[in-house]
């Protein structure tokens, strides 16, 4: 048993761009380039980047929704980068994903009870109908939703409730590892804080290892132990959260931090046209 639950080495992903002619060999578009990351057991890694940085693709590689073009992914010491769909299936109980948009990741025509217990059924862990309802109700309770929601359709829920349901689904088989892809970006501030704290609590309670993908550094600071900053498919900087926020090394990290508008009046923030400074962060950090 290694201390690192998930490790990527030289992980890359490219897809063929559709060429202008069916005869020409399609050019490959590199989305993820040579990513080396390690997620220690029980920790939360934040993956931060702007749109087009490849963070979602990287997340989907980790749960093997995508097959890497090169490089390796080791899960609990075993290589999973080349596993086929069938070989991957037993591992699906241990590796889960929470999707960005619960509106589209929850099947609109299925009641929550069905969606939540689907995995239990597939892995043969259900004893009949009543058991399914009970397990679904337990899961709803775990994420702080009323147990009566088993009979609801996704469109009958609010955004925050749907995202809780998405979390509940991922927890059904008590996985070790969860990739959470921008799961609070569509939520209001008040809802977002609830969901973030729920994740924090679940993580402590269930000993989860997580990769938390976000474009928002402030959110990452709430939840993560380590951060990796992605730009154009490459990790430009990674390390413990406190270190990255207090002394960012890479220019890009610094400009990201400087661009965050903190809810404090700060004359001059708008005038500063040059390469961004991070003084405003450190100034109030104390």
């Amino acid at each position: 048993m290694s201390d690192i639950l998930l490790r990527t080495a030289g992980l890359s992903f490219a897809y063929p761009e559709r060429g202008s002619s069916p005869f020409a060999r399609p050019a490959m578009r590199q989305v993820v380039k040579d990513v080396d990351l390690a997620v220690p057991r029980g920790s939360v890694l934040g993956l931060v980047g702007e749109s087009g940085s490849g963070k979602t693709t990287l997340g989907r590689l980790m749960v093997r929704l995508l097959q890497p073009t090169s490089g390796s992914i080791q899960f609990d010491g075993a290589e999973i980068g080349r596993l086929g769909e069938v070989e991957m299936r037993p591992l699906r109980a241990r590796i889960q994903m929470i999707f960005q948009d619960p509106q589209s990741s929850l099947n609109p025509r299925l009641r929550l009870g069905v969606t939540l217990t689907r995995q239990l059924k597939v892995f043969g862990r259900l004893k009949g109908r009543q058991d399914a309802r009970d397990r679904a109700a337990d899961l709803l309770e775990l994420v702080g939703l009323p147990t009566g929601f088993v009979d609801r359709y996704p469109h009958e829920l609010s955004g925050g409730q749907r995202q809780r349901a998405g979390i509940a689904r991922a927890l059904a088989l008590q996985p070790d590892f969860i990739v959470a892809d921008e799961i609070v970006s569509g939520l209001d501030v008040s809802t977002q804080a609830h969901v973030l704290l729920l994740l924090k609590e679940l993580r402590a309670r269930l000993g989860l290892t997580m990769v938390f993908i976000s474009h928002d550094l402030s959110v990452v600071r709430v939840l993560c132990d380590d951060v990796a900053i992605l730009k154009a498919g490459e990790v430009v900087e990674s390390g413990p959260v406190e270190r990255i926020f207090s002394s960012p090394q890479h220019e890009y990290t610094r400009s990201l931090l400087a661009a965050i508008p903190l809810p404090d009046v700060e004359p001059g923030w708008l005038d500063d046209a040059g390469p961004a400074s991070i003084q405003h962060l450190q100034g109030s950090a104390a």
Partner: protein
């Protein structure tokens, strides 16, 4: 609204009430028309005042009862052989329902199978099915059914075969496209992460989403089947002999359209009411079966 506001936990109306509200007037009107058609088809022998093939040359080409010269023994008049038009219309409904039900289900079964196969497997299977559909789409559908019916020879089987062979692509195309697009959605990815096999994803996740679409297509296809029967009758290669069909009646009516226009008009009205009924029912069902609110 707050994340956990309990306002949502109120009493909900029953599924059926919600569904029928979504279906609206279309659903009811369509269901009523189709129900009337079904009742007429089932109880044809009880409803028809005369034997539909019984000829009475003495009282040929009688106008409907309310017109001058009409008589109530033949409420909608008689055709050129003196057969009761109302009775023939009623029995023709039977043929229409039979053709529609059999042809639409067969076309649906074949089309859905091909569509699901192509949509979910992709690769060369999809290529193969898509090319097959391409070839089918290059045929003029009316001409193809006529040729088919001519090849097989007159009779109910030939009508059904002509419809199925021509129209399976309607289902295949739509089901393929919809399957592809459903598989693109995040919930299909979520199902993969949960460890579902391809078959399970299709059965548990995709098919429930295809139901409203398929039901609509089948309803519309039943209307189309009625029309194809009319077309084949029109060309003289539908159900043989004396069997009353709307198409056959239209053709007969056309011969004497100047003398007795109602003989052609009445089956046309029947066909139109049937087709509209099926279309409205299909539209209504699609709305009713879709629990997701559309604005």
């Amino acid at each position: 609204m707050a994340d956990l506001a309990l306002t949502g936990v109120t009493e909900r109306p029953s599924r059926w009430r919600l569904a029928s509200a979504r279906g609206g007037a279309r659903l009811w009107l369509g269901a009523a028309l189709v129900a009337v058609l079904l009742l007429i088809a089932i109880f044809a022998p009880l409803l028809a005042p005369h034997d539909p093939v019984e000829q009475d040359l003495m009282s040929a080409q009688l106008p409907p009862a309310w017109m001058t010269g009409g008589e109530w023994a033949h409420p909608l008049g008689t055709d050129s052989l003196g057969r009761c038009v109302l009775s023939r219309l009623i029995f023709a409904a039977r043929t229409a329902v039979e053709v529609a039900a059999i042809a639409a289900s067969l076309a649906a079964a074949i089309g859905i199978a091909f569509g699901l196969l192509a949509g979910s497997f992709g690769g060369w299977i999809d290529q193969g099915v898509s090319r097959l559909i391409d070839v089918w789409m290059a045929f003029p559908p009316v001409l193809l059914s006529i040729v088919l019916a001519a090849v097989i020879g007159a009779g109910l089987t030939s009508v059904v075969a002509a419809i199925v062979v021509v129209d399976w692509t309607r289902f295949a195309r739509v089901v393929r496209a919809e399957t592809l697009s459903q598989l693109q959605r995040d919930y299909a990815a979520a199902a993969r992460v949960l460890g579902l096999t391809r078959g399970q994803i299709l059965r548990f996740e995709i098919l429930p989403n295809l139901v409203p679409l398929i039901v609509t297509l089948i309803a519309v296809e039943m209307g189309i089947a009625v029309l194809v029967e009319v077309i084949l009758s029109f060309v003289g290669i539908s159900v043989a002999g004396d069997t009353p069909t709307w198409g056959g009646m239209i053709v007969e009516g056309r011969q004497i359209v100047y003398q007795a226009p109602w003989i052609m008009a009445l089956p046309i009205v029947s066909v139109i009411a049937t087709v509209i009924g099926f279309n409205l029912l299909g539209d209504g069902l699609r709305a009713a079966l879709d629990p997701v609110h559309r604005q």
